[in-house]
């Protein structure tokens, strides 16, 4: 574009960025007429988490996952739990120096087989996610993203060629909610989910149920119906409990009964793996075999108590359990 303005085509916002300025995500900056993701190799959060924390319940359960994030996000959710890094400028936060090779080495040297790009929005630090995932793949590591999925189709399709699993957070099945609460949109998120499915990415869907804002039973039913029709009934669906954060401190935590209603809506609709998250000790943290009904993965919080799987088969009735498991 003229006058050294560049346009970022990564997400639907398609920011036109004048020289010296950043896009809406704060980290993609026009430097000398070239768009640069300045947080490349500079994560601000690096932790070894259980894979269940992402949440992934059907992807290598019980495995540690090296989880990283740089600052920045292309949405501005009023409920964001990680707002202190998602809404920060790159120059404001101290970061670790971990270029792709060093990050892959950090996982390999600790015998961690998985890397997650998570906490903020891996799409905005796209180049870092992509290059590290590609390098990790060459070294035998598997990569996963935890994302809101608000991106353009072309970059997402390319990313899903190197990333093996994704948890996509569908904020609410309502465009108005996306506009008012998140500064984003629903349609691109649904497109991302379909692309992930087409690219054979292991997919889990989460949905934070916020009292009075995204707890409408009809909208939950619409989300469930859409997931079943477009992604299949074996897609794990996580209804997460909201805890007051950031700009929504005025709202109460989600009542457990509301989450149980959502769980019931999904189970009644024929979804096979439905979970309630952020309520440690709740019975629905366990994975039950859809065929015999017995608990095949018993959890408490992020901890696995018991596993009754032979590869990807139920130990009790030999029915196939959907997911990516060790030894399969």
């Amino acid at each position: 574009m003229r006058h050294q303005t560049v346009q970022c085509l990564l997400c639907p916002k398609q920011c036109k960025i004048p020289e010296g300025r950043s896009g809406d995500c704060r980290i993609r900056i026009n430097i000398g007429g070239k768009l640069k993701a300045v947080t490349f190799g500079f994560p601000v959060a690096v932790h070894v988490d259980p894979v269940e924390k992402k949440p992934f319940f059907h992807y290598f359960p019980g495995t540690p996952i090296l989880s990283v994030a740089t600052v920045g996000c292309n949405m501005h959710c009023k409920n964001c739990q990680n707002w202190h890094i998602s809404q920060a400028n790159p120059e404001d936060e101290e970061a670790f120096v971990l270029p792709p090779k060093a990050l892959v080495q950090a996982a390999l040297s600790r015998n961690i087989p998985l890397i997650a790009y998570t906490y903020t929005e891996p799409i905005v630090y796209y180049e870092y996610t992509y290059e590290t995932a590609l390098l990790g793949k060459q070294e035998g590591l598997r990569s996963a993203i935890v994302s809101a999925g608000y991106a353009n189709p072309e970059p997402m399709r390319a990313l899903f060629k190197v990333v093996e699993a994704a948890t996509i957070d569908v904020k609410c099945f309502d465009e108005q909610f996306y506009r008012d609460i998140c500064d984003g949109g629903l349609r691109p998120v649904l497109n991302t989910l379909v692309i992930a499915k087409e690219e054979n990415v292991w997919l889990e869907v989460s949905n934070l149920v916020i009292p009075t804002l995204s707890d409408d039973r009809q909208k939950i039913a619409m989300l469930v119906r859409w997931v079943k029709q477009n992604l299949g009934d074996e897609t794990p669906l996580h209804f997460l409990r909201f805890v007051p954060h950031h700009k929504l401190k005025n709202l109460p935590p989600t009542p457990v009964e509301t989450l149980e209603d959502a769980w019931k809506i999904a189970m009644d609709a024929g979804m096979k793996y439905v979970y309630i998250g952020n309520v440690p000790g709740h019975e629905t943290e366990n994975t039950r075999c859809p065929s015999c009904g017995k608990v095949v993965i018993s959890r408490i919080g992020y901890r696995i108590r018991e596993m009754h799987l032979k590869g990807n088969l139920c130990e009790f009735c030999n029915a196939k359990i959907a997911g990516v498991f060790r030894g399969v």
Partner: protein, 69 residues
Amino acid sequence: MKSQKKMEDRQKTSSNSRRKFLKDCAIGALAFAISGAKGEEQKRKEPPFRIRTKRLTEKDLEIDPNLAG
């Protein structure tokens, strides 16, 4: 005579408090101007800026329960 003295005292007090009020206003305006100037300084830096870095330790790698995802 006594009431005149009282009047003078009152006027004196009044002018003192007016002076004090004006002084407070001046201090307030000055503080406001200084904070405004600080605000300018805190405005986002333009690139190229330097990302501040720190060393990764094993402690950093521990699970952070306050971080979602």
